[in-house]
C-alpha cells in the first residue's frame, strides 16, 4: 500500500493543466476497464494458448506485446488478468465507500457516545496491520480473493470515516446550517440539501486515492502468488512470472508492472484533479492570477531631495497579476515625519493595506510595485529583496498587524522569539539580550516580564499578545512603526490600552507611526494627520482636526457621517 495515496496531501491550487491531465487519466482508466471487460471478445488468443516454440519473444505483429515463458500471448493475458485485478479493486472500493460514508455520517450527525465509539473504531482500523490480516483471511478462505478485498475495503475505511465525519462536523458548524435550522428545516431536508452535497467531493477524492492503494495491494498479493488461480493470470502474478525470467526477458517486467503503474498513476491524477476542483469550489471567488515579475518602472530617476521624513512614498503604483497587471494602488504619495502618527484610512479594497505592505517589502507574490518609489530615511527600498532589507526591517521599521493571536509563532515561547529578534535586529550582545527582552516587555506595560517570557502565545490574551508583538517590533529600536489595523480584533477597553501605549511610545521615544485603519473614531483618537484612500487613490488628506471639522470631499464627508456616534456631535 503506498502512503501517498492514503495521506491527504494538498496539491498547490491553480496549477494549470491539472484538470486536463485528470481528464486524460480518467479516459485512460475507463478505456482500460472497457478493454478488460471485453477480454473474452477482443483477445487475439486464449489466455492459456501455449506456443512452446515461441516463448519469451519480443513484441511482433503476431504478438503485439510479446510472449511469456510458455509462449502465451502477453496482451491476451494482460486483458484477462485485468478482470480479477480490477474486480478486486472494485469490491474493495465499494466496501470502503459504503462503510466509510455510513459510519462517518452517523458519527458526525449523532455525536456523543456514538461519535466516540465510531471514532475509536476508525482509530483501531487505521492502526491494524492491514495486509497481514488480509493474509489471514486469504489463508482461511482458501485463497478466495473476494473476502480478502472486502476486508481491505473495511480496514481502509477508517480514514474515510474520519474525513466524512470531519466534513459533516465542519458543515454543521457553518452559519448557513444554523440559518437553515432557524428557517425551520427538518433534519432530513437539512441533510439532503446542505450536508450531503458537501460530503460528495471528499468521498470521491478519497475513493479514487483508495482505488490506487487497493490496486497496489491486489497486485502485490498476485505477485506473491496469493489468491491467484493459474492458469488465469492477474496483473500481479504476471509480475511474479516476469521476475522468474528477469535475466532472460526483462521486457516482461516492463509490460506487467507498467500497466499497474499507469493505472495507479491515472487514479492518483484523477484524485489530484478532483481535489483541485473541490478546493476551487470551496475557495469560490478569492483566487487571483499568480506571480508577476517586477515590470519596468516608469521612474523619473531623480535623486531624492534631502528630508527629515522617516518614510516617503512617491507616486506609488502597485499592480496584481500579469496578464495584464491590474493596478490596485495608483499615484499615492505621502510622508511620515519623525514622531508623527499618520492615519491611513479607507474601506476594504481602498488599497491601504497593500500600500503598507509595500513599504516593508512584504507584498504577496502576485503583486508588484509598477511605478513610483518608497524611501525609508534616505534609502530607496523600492527594489530591495529580502537580503537588501536586512538592516532596515526591525532596525528602522517595525510592524504590528491585525490579529495578535496569530502574529506570534505558536511553537516558541515569547522569550525565545524576542531573543531571536534581538539577535538579528539589534546590536545587543548575547549576554545582555535576556535583560533587554525583559526591559522591552516592561516598556509595553506587561506585568511580570519574567513569567511572560516563559509563556507560549496561546497562553496570552489578545491584548497581551498585541503588547508582545509591539515589544517584538521595538526590539531593533526602529524610528517608524507600521500598524495595520492593530486594534480591530480587540475589545474596546483593550483597544484603549493599546492606543494609550502607542501615544506613550511616541511621546517618550519620538516614534513615528503609520496607522492603518477603517475606523474614523480611532483616527480621531490617535492620529495627528490623516490620509483618506478610496479605490487605490488618495482622495483627501490633512490634519485630523481640520479634516473632521471641514471635510472637503463628499466621500470623506459620507465616511464621517456614517460612523456611528456614541456622543451627539456638533
Amino acid at each position: 500500500m503506498t502512503v501517498t495515496q492514503i495521506v491527504d496531501t494538498r496539491v498547490r491550487g491553480g496549477r494549470l493543466g491539472t484538470n486536463a491531465l485528470a481528464i486524460v487519466a480518467l479516459a485512460f482508466v475507463v478505456l482500460v476497464a472497457i478493454a478488460v471487460a471485453l477480454a473474452p471478445v477482443i483477445s487475439p488468443y486464449g489466455y492459456n494458448d501455449q506456443d512452446l516454440a515461441r516463448f519469451l519473444e519480443w513484441p511482433s505483429a503476431d504478438h503485439l506485446l510479446g510472449t511469456d515463458s510458455l509462449g502465451r500471448d502477453i496482451l491476451t493475458r494482460l486483458l484477462w488478468g485485468g478482470q480479477p485485478t480490477l474486480l478486486g479493486v472494485l469490491v474493495a472500493v465499494l466496501t470502503f465507500v459504503v462503510v466509510g460514508v455510513l459510519l462517518g455520517i452517523v458519527a458526525g450527525t449523532l455525536g456523543g457516545w456514538v461519535d466516540a465509539l465510531i471514532s475509536g473504531i476508525a482509530d483501531i482500523l487505521m492502526s491494524l496491520p492491514g495486509v497481514v490480516l488480509i493474509f489471514a483471511v486469504l489463508a482461511i478462505f482458501d485463497q478466495d480473493l473476494t473476502p480478502a478485498m472486502i476486508t481491505l475495503g473495511f480496514l481502509g475505511s477508517g480514514s474515510l470515516v474520519r474525513v466524512v465525519r470531519a466534513t459533516v462536523l465542519g458543515v454543521r458548524g457553518e452559519l448557513f446550517v444554523s440559518a437553515a435550522i432557524v428557517s425551520g428545516l427538518g433534519s432530513v431536508r437539512l441533510m439532503a440539501r446542505h450536508i450531503l452535497p458537501a460530503v460528495v467531493g471528499p468521498v470521491v477524492i478519497q475513493a479514487s486515492l483508495f482505488a490506487g492503494a487497493a490496486l497496489a495491494v491486489q497486485s502485490g498479493l498476485g505477485f506473491l502468488g496469493l489468491g491467484v488461480h493459474p492458469p488465469l493470470p492477474t496483473w500481479g502474478s504476471m509480475v511474479g512470472e516476469a521476475a522468474a525470467n528477469l535475466a532472460k526477458a526483462p521486457w516482461l517486467l516492463v509490460v506487467s508492472g507498467g500497466i499497474i503503474t499507469l493505472v495507479s498513476l491515472a487514479l492518483a491524477l484523477i484524485g489530484d484533479g478532483l481535489r483541485d476542483v473541490d478546493a476551487a469550489r470551496r475557495r469560490s471567488d478569492r483566487g487571483r492570477a499568480p506571480i508577476a515579475a517586477r515590470t519596468s518602472r516608469a521612474d523619473g530617476g531623480t535623486p531624492p531631495e534631502p528630508s527629515d521624513a522617516v518614510l516617503r512614498v512617491q507616486d506609488l503604483e502597485i499592480s496584481f497579476g500579469d496578464s495584464p497587471p491590474v493596478a490596485v494602488v495608483r499615484g499615492v504619495s505621502f510622508e511620515v515625519q519623525p514622531g508623527e502618527i499618520l492615519g491611513l484610512v479607507g474601506e476594504s479594497g481602498s488599497g491601504k493595506t497593500v500600500t503598507t505592505l509595500a513599504t516593508l517589502g512584504l507584498l504577496p507574490g502576485n503583486a508588484a510595485i509598477t511605478a513610483g518609489r518608497i524611501l525609508i530615511g534616505q534609502d530607496d527600498v523600492t527594489e530591495l529583496d529580502d537580503r537588501g532589507f536586512a538592516g532596515i526591517r526591525g532596525r528602522r521599521t517595525g510592524l504590528i498587524s491585525q490579529e495578535p493571536m496569530v502574529a506570534l509563532d505558536p511553537l516558541f515561547t515569547v522569550g525565545s522569539q524576542l531573543l531571536e529578534v534581538l539577535k538579528y535586529a539589534s546590536d545587543v550582545p548575547a549576554s545582555q539580550r535576556r535583560a533587554r527582552a525583559m526591559q522591552l516587555l516592561s516598556l509595553v506595560h506587561l506585568p511580570d516580564p519574567e513569567a511572560v517570557m516563559r509563556r507560549f502565545p496561546h497562553e496570552l490574551s489578545g491584548g497581551m499578545a498585541q503588547r508582545v508583538v509591539i515589544a517584538t517590533a521595538l526590539a531593533g529600536d526602529p524610528e517608524l512603526l507600521i500598524a495595520d489595523e492593530p486594534t480591530t480584533a480587540l475589545d474596546v477597553t483593550v483597544q484603549a490600552g493599546i492606543l494609550d501605549l502607542l501615544r506613550e511610545l511616541r511621546r517618550e521615544r519620538g516614534l513615528a507611526v503609520l496607522f492603518v485603519t477603517h475606523d474614523l473614531a480611532v483616527v480621531a483618537d490617535i492620529c495627528d494627520r490623516v490620509i483618506v484612500m478610496e479605490k487605490g487613490v488618495i482622495v483627501e488628506s490633512g490634519l485630523v482636526d481640520d479634516l473632521f471639522a471641514d471635510p472637503r470631499e463628499p466621500y470623506t464627508r459620507e465616511l464621517i457621517a456614517s460612523t456611528p456616534r456614541l456622543v451627539d456631535g456638533r
Binding site: M1, T2, V3, T4, I6, V7, T9, R10, D123, S127, L128, P129, G130, V131, V132, L133, F135, A136, A139, I140, F141, D142, G212, V217, G220, F223, L224, L226, V239, A243, L246, L253, G257, I260, T261, S264, L267, A268, L360, L362, A390, G391, R393, G394, L399, S401, V406, A407, L408, D409, L411, F412, V421, A425, F456, H458, V469, T472, A473, G476
Partner: protein, 313 residues
C-alpha cells in the same frame, strides 16, 4: 498530553483483542474440518486426532481463545503446524531483518524527503515542479516492481550489489548494509514522495502565516524563518505522516522481503499463508500490531513535544 497517551494506551487493548480475536475466530470459519483440510485426504485418524489436540480443536472455540490469550500473555504463541517450531522464537529470529528494513526505509524517506521538500519550497518553480512529478510517480510505482527493476539493474546487469539474501549485522556490518541498500531503496520511494510533498506544502503554508510576517518585519533573516519556524511548524503534521509511513512500511516490507528473499516477518507471513499455517499468521499479526501500537505511541509523544498547546494542557 497525558490524556492523549492514555487514550492511545486504552485503545491498544481493544486493538490487541481485535487482532487476536479476528485471526482466531476466522479460523473456525474454515469450511469443513480444519484438521482434515490441513492434513489432506490421506491422513490417518491418529494424525487427525493429534493435530486436533495440538490446535485444541476438541474444545469449544471460546475456551480455545481463552487458552490462546493466556498463552500469549505468558509469551507462548503456539507452534507452527508445519515445522513444529515455536512461533515466538521464529518471530524473534526474523524481527531484526524486518525492523532493519522498515526503520532504514523510514529514516531514508525522512532525510531525502525533508531535503527535497525544503528545496522545492525555497528554490523556485522548476524544483517544485520536479518534486510534484516525483511525488506523483513515486507514489504510483508498486514497490515490488521497483525492487525487481533495481535488482535487475544493479545486481543482475551491473553486479554491484547482491540481488537477494541477508547478512546479519553481527556477522558483517558492511555486508549487512550492502544487503539492505536495494530493499531499503525500494521500500522508501513512496515515503520520500509523500514526505517531500508534506514538507513542501507545510513550509509554503507556514511562510504565508502572520507570525512569519511579524518575524520577517522584525528583521529575522529568511533562512532562519524557513529552517527554524516554517519547518518546525510543518513538523507537527509531518510526525503524523511519518507514523503512517512507518505503518505502511509494515505492509510494504512483506513484498520487498519476497523480492529480495530476505528472511524477515514478511516472507514468513507469505509462506504461512500459502500453507494455512494459522498459528504463524496469528503470531505475525500480533507482532505487527504491537509494532504499530509502539509507533503510534511514539507519534503521539513527539506530537505532544512539538506542540505546546498539547504539552501544556
Amino acid at each position: 498530553m497525558l490524556r492523549l497517551i492514555a487514550r492511545r494506551v486504552l485503545l491498544s487493548i481493544p486493538l490487541l483483542v481485535a487482532v487476536t480475536a479476528i485471526t482466531f475466530f476466522l479460523q473456525s470459519l474454515i469450511p469443513g474440518d480444519p484438521a482434515r483440510s490441513l492434513l489432506g485426504g490421506s491422513a490417518t485418524q491418529e494424525q487427525l486426532d493429534a493435530l486436533r489436540q495440538t490446535l485444541h480443536l476438541d474444545q469449544p472455540v471460546l475456551i480455545q481463545y481463552r487458552d490462546y490469550l493466556a498463552g500469549v500473555l505468558h509469551g507462548d504463541l503456539g507452534r507452527s503446524i508445519f515445522t513444529g517450531e515455536d512461533v515466538g522464537q521464529t518471530l524473534a529470529n526474523r524481527l531484526p531483518v524486518s525492523l532493519s528494513l522498515i526503520i532504514g526505509g523510514t529514516v531514508v524517506a525522512l532525510l531525502i524527503g525533508i531535503l527535497l521538500g525544503v528545496l522545492s519550497a525555497t528554490r523556485g518553480r522548476a524544483v517544485a515542479r520536479f518534486v510534484d512529478v516525483f511525488s506523483l510517480v513515486g507514489g504510483a510505482l508498486p514497490n515490488f516492481w521497483v525492487g525487481l527493476i533495481l535488482a535487475s539493474f544493479f545486481a543482475v546487469t551491473l553486479l554491484l550489489l547482491p540481488a537477494t539474501g541477508y547478512v546479519p549485522f553481527e556477522f558483517s556490518p558492511s555486508l549487512w548494509a550492502s544487503s539492505l541498500i536495494l530493499p531499503v531503496a525500494a521500500l522508501s520511494l513512496s515515503g520520500i514522495a509523500t514526505i517531500a510533498k508534506v514538507v513542501r506544502d507545510g513550509i509554503s503554508t507556514a511562510m504565508t502565516q502572520d507570525f512569519i510576517r511579524t518575524l520577517r518585519a522584525a528583521g529575522v533573516p529568511r533562512r532562519v524563518l524557513i529552517w527554524r519556524h516554517a519547518l518546525r511548524n510543518s513538523a507537527v503534521s509531518l510526525v503524523t505522516v511519518v507514523g503512517v509511513i512507518f505503518v505502511a512500511s509494515l505492509s510494504g516490507t512483506i513484498l520487498v522481503e519476497n523480492v529480495f528473499v530476505l528472511p524477515g516477518l514478511g516472507s514468513l507471513a507469505v509462506t504461512a499463508t500459502s500453507r494455512q499455517d494459522i498459528p504463524v499468521i496469528q503470531g505475525v499479526a500480533l507482532a505487527f500490531t504491537i509494532v504499530t501500537i509502539v509507533v503510534n505511541l511514539l507519534v503521539d509523544v513527539s506530537y505532544g513535544l512539538l506542540n505546546p498547546k498539547v504539552r501544556t494542557r
